[in-house]
Symmetry: C2
Subunit: 591 residues, 2 copies
């Protein structure tokens, strides 16, 4: 596989710019600031290469390891019953004495959300985060009763960290949450920059614009490897600025007479801050609905990230009805159509404090995350049914992404001019699209195809992909259990989810192996009871006959083999009769 990808890259991308491929960069003054000639720096993304989410990158040099981010990802629809996925840190566990720290680039769950699982496993190494990220991380760890055990340090763009052999510095980027940072790492074997999730916003909401001068300066030092966000690489142009989104929202808010309900992401603190300011300019009060929305805005207020007057924002409750609709904005979670979210509950008339009225306007200030399209459509249909008017990002520019589009990615490349870049953060097709888009730009790419692939930097061998691979499985979290379900369990759930389960109870005399009575049938998720009378009695006959035949052929048959043969027979009958393949569980009791 790996071979194919690199051949594809060679054929389709590298050869387009043969003049750049081997030429050292002009700006690269010290291509290998490497005192320790033999040692390698190893860069290992343990997540974030095969998904959007679960971001975690290990950087190893000699006896030292640092991690950048430690996120979770949400389970796809084929991961039945899985709540979320955390990274496999087996490799790190075996080397936990080497771990000097975990650096968090920003506070989204796909960057901090696996901390409660990973941090204790690695012996509670020190954590480093900016102020807001640290606040969110602390809340997360408190949920899991871990906040007392961790050493959490704040950093900012002026911080330099010495973590074992590593020197670490930071630079501001923009993203859909304030306080996002990119990371510069230097070891004796070389230098790298990790962009984190980034975009360039010249007029962000409450954040400062990404620090281009600083990025250019770091680039000027000579960067061996650039690890760069690829989520939106296949989207053309630039992201819209948060201030432009605010203009559109202000336009809608100023023209709307009735109540406004605005759904967005609870971590979009900058946008929410802007909406509250718009609200107060237009004489509206803002009520927050949804736990994460309330928690995040409380934290943002406490840490000084908001610019609206204290008290402008209230938690939703019975008092929300005391104001006329024209003076009310409800800010809510649920922009992705999540089942239990506040907006979904409003849409089906089950929200405790918000009953949709016919003069309501609902603004969905978000874009669907792939896989959520149908759920969102469902919520929108239901809102229309309740009489509301709905405005989405398809109608007007009321949302912008947090991830750099194509032109912003090129800009980052040009500011840094690395010797080589690795597209990270995103599924393979996004990262291949990144490489494809860059084929006319002078850059050398190394494609790390899968989580656990390793990039090595050393003076002797330069930059190259290792043939080794670190285990990087998905650890599935279901309910309160980490990793106690796996592909077999998921496979069983899949069978039952499509065709149900069919239990057959056989009671037989132990000695003679003769059935005491007809087998009993219990089913769930199979067919309606009222329609299943015929099926049930036919199945019983098939089961009875199968039992008798199998036993007749071999009276000393082992229980396991008997069950296997019964299952085969019954399965064949049901498949032929109904075109279904339920989970069949034969239970045999000897008396």
């Amino acid at each position: 596989m790996t071979k194919k990808i690199s051949e594809w890259v060679n054929k389709n991308i590298k050869q387009k710019n043969p003049q750049h491929q081997h030429a050292p960069h002009k700006h690269h003054k010290k291509p290998f600031p490497n005192k320790d000639g033999g040692a390698k720096m190893r860069i290992i993304p343990l997540g974030g290469l095969e998904e959007v989410g679960k971001n975690i990158t290990a950087i190893e040099y000699g006896n030292d390891i640092i991690l950048i981010d430690c996120g979770m990802s949400f389970a796809g629809p084929d991961m039945l019953g899985v709540d979320y996925i955390v990274p496999d840190v087996t490799y790190l566990q075996q080397r936990k004495h080497k771990i000097r720290g975990i650096i968090f680039t920003h506070g989204h769950l796909d960057h901090i959300g696996a901390a409660q699982y990973v941090v204790p496993k690695l012996g509670n190494p020190p954590l480093y985060a900016t102020k807001l990220t640290a606040g969110l991380l602390k809340n997360r760890l408190r949920e899991f009763a871990l906040d007392k055990h961790v050493k959490l340090h704040e950093y900012d763009e002026r911080t330099t960290l010495k973590l074992g052999a590593f020197e670490v510095e930071f630079f501001r980027v923009n993203h859909s949450i304030p306080d996002g940072m990119g990371v510069f790492v230097k070891s004796p074997a070389g230098t790298l920059i990790h962009t984190g999730d980034f975009k360039f916003d010249h007029s962000p909401a409450i954040d400062k614009p990404a620090d281009m001068q600083r990025i250019a300066q770091l680039g000027h030092r000579g960067i061996d490897v650039l690890l760069i966000d690829s989520t939106n690489a296949i989207k053309p142009g630039f992201c819209k600025s948060e201030k432009d989104i605010a203009d559109t929202l202000e336009d809608i808010i100023s023209k709307t007479k009735g109540r406004l309900i605005i759904a967005s992401f609870s971590s979009l603190i900058g946008r929410i801050n802007q909406i509250v300011n718009i609200a107060s300019r237009h004489n509206r009060k803002v009520f927050l609905s949804g736990r994460s929305m309330i928690d995040n805005m409380k934290l943002a207020e406490d840490l000084g990230y908001t610019t609206y007057p204290k008290g402008t924002v209230r938690k939703i409750g019975p008092h929300a009805k005391s104001l006329p609709p024209s003076q009310t904005i409800i800010l809510t979670t649920g922009a992705q159509g999540e089942t239990l979210s506040a907006l979904t509950r409003m849409a089906i008339g089950e929200h405790a404090h918000v009953k949709i009225q016919e003069s309501d306007t609902v603004i969905i200030s978000a874009s669907p995350i792939p896989g959520n399209e149908l759920a969102i459509v469902n919520v929108i249909n239901n809102l229309y049914r309740q009489g509301a008017k709905v405005i989405t990002n398809g109608d007007m520019d009321i949302h912008t992404s947090g991830h750099a589009h194509a032109e912003e990615i090129k800009l980052m490349h040009s500011l840094i001019k690395p010797r080589c870049y690795v597209p990270i953060h995103g599924e393979l097709y996004m990262r291949m699209g990144h490489a494809e888009m860059m084929k006319n730009v002078a850059q050398s790419v190394t494609m790390l195809e899968n989580n656990g692939d390793i990039l090595e930097i050393s003076k002797q061998q330069g930059i190259r992909k290792s043939k080794q691979k670190i285990p990087a499985n998905d650890i599935l979290v279901d309910g309160l259990g980490f990793g106690d379900i796996g592909s077999k369990v998921i496979q069983e759930r899949k069978v039952m989810s499509t065709d149900g389960v069919l239990l057959l109870l056989f009671r037989a005399y132990e000695k003679t192996k003769r059935l005491v009575c007809e087998p009993n049938i219990i089913s769930r998720g199979f067919v309606y009871v009222k329609e299943s009378q015929t099926i049930a009695s036919e199945t019983k006959q098939v089961a009875k006959k199968a039992f008798e035949q199998v036993v007749q052929n071999n009276r000393n048959i082992e229980l396991k083999e008997l069950k296997r043969q019964l299952t085969l027979n019954i399965n064949r009958f049901i498949r032929k009769r109904l075109g279904r393949e339920p989970m069949i569980i034969p239970i045999i009791m000897y008396i």
Copy 2:
């Protein structure tokens, strides 16, 4: 609900054009060509209002009923294990003696795909279809061994049908399958036009352009109600023409050196025909892969719908490898990432005859149908993994929709100028978007919110929505069974799909109600066996204790109540211990 929608329409749409609301149309010469003053024409969409799919509209006048279309819809991801959905025809079954015929507008499954279920239920009424649609319908009915029983008549744009009190005429429209028609219906109570699925294509692939003059003439007769496709109403502008798509495809094909694999819809006969012609111009042979692709193109060839020289197109097989890649195009199904489709099998290296090579270029000439996004992304990632280059509609204009965009919808309205229109074909948000878009155009809208809602036309009362409602449930098809599963079965599947099933076997003495031994546990889809030892033994203890307590409290407890209490107790323990809620099935055997 209904009240709210109409109030919303009144407030948001109608009042914007008060001058038009009550004024009769100038062109409407005979607003009520109604000899039978008292009788009503009732228009009842039994499907197609709450979904994209399952299109079927009944039109009733006195003792006569005709149907337009009879389609299926695909099940959403929450309809676990359901293969597809067919319409509820209870109302029609009770009136089958009145049914004069079923008219099919075109050959897509969402318009013909429930025929095998509905036609026999209604006593095999005569069917009317254009040549290609009739061919597809015949194939469909043959699959279900029904083709011998039906009376299938072909019509074209010059046909006039007299079906009881109805006079029916037709007009050509464009769509993503050839031979699509709109329908004009006249009864003594009034007139209507049903657009079918339509778009306007001035340069279609093999079809004629939609007949605008004919549409204008029919409109000029005076149309009371226009039932109009809303699928793409919220998309701005016009659809691209099929010929423009062909130009882009020819550009790619002419510049590509290696093998080309093109995935598209098997019913896009016009586009496929164009691709074959392009292929032959560029000295490539075309191999078809995927059963529906092969079947549909055979039918199209047999019926004279193709323009390429006979023999240019071949079925895929071992011989496909005999030609050099530069002379090969493979046309395949699977553009939606369907699990068992040819493209999906190629992407995971399991196609019998096509092994993806590193110089392959895969063109996905389709757009994702909502809900299929993740499956398609998965296929694309896998194609990259195999070394192919992938081009999608996001990269270049290689697909166009079959459904009118906003400007085409306005055009249809202007050609017909009905007294009133009803947005059909599409979920509520699309149809509300249609009404919203039309608010600046002089048209009166009546919103039928749900399947089974009724629009009545009569001389006395004009056009109005009835307060009555016809039952229009979803009939779920799973395997070979029609309607033998329902919401309870789906609910059970949902529980098992997320948390699995847990069986507890209790053996007790009948008289004393004392347990013979510890309860046995069998689980599927719950937790790994190796990790579940502790859970299992804890659960056994809880189950044992629960049994003993319940029985102690009431030695004559009924079996049902005993099971209920055991389930409650075990459920509580598992929820607390693991945060999961599996399907719990206690089985009690008395000895």
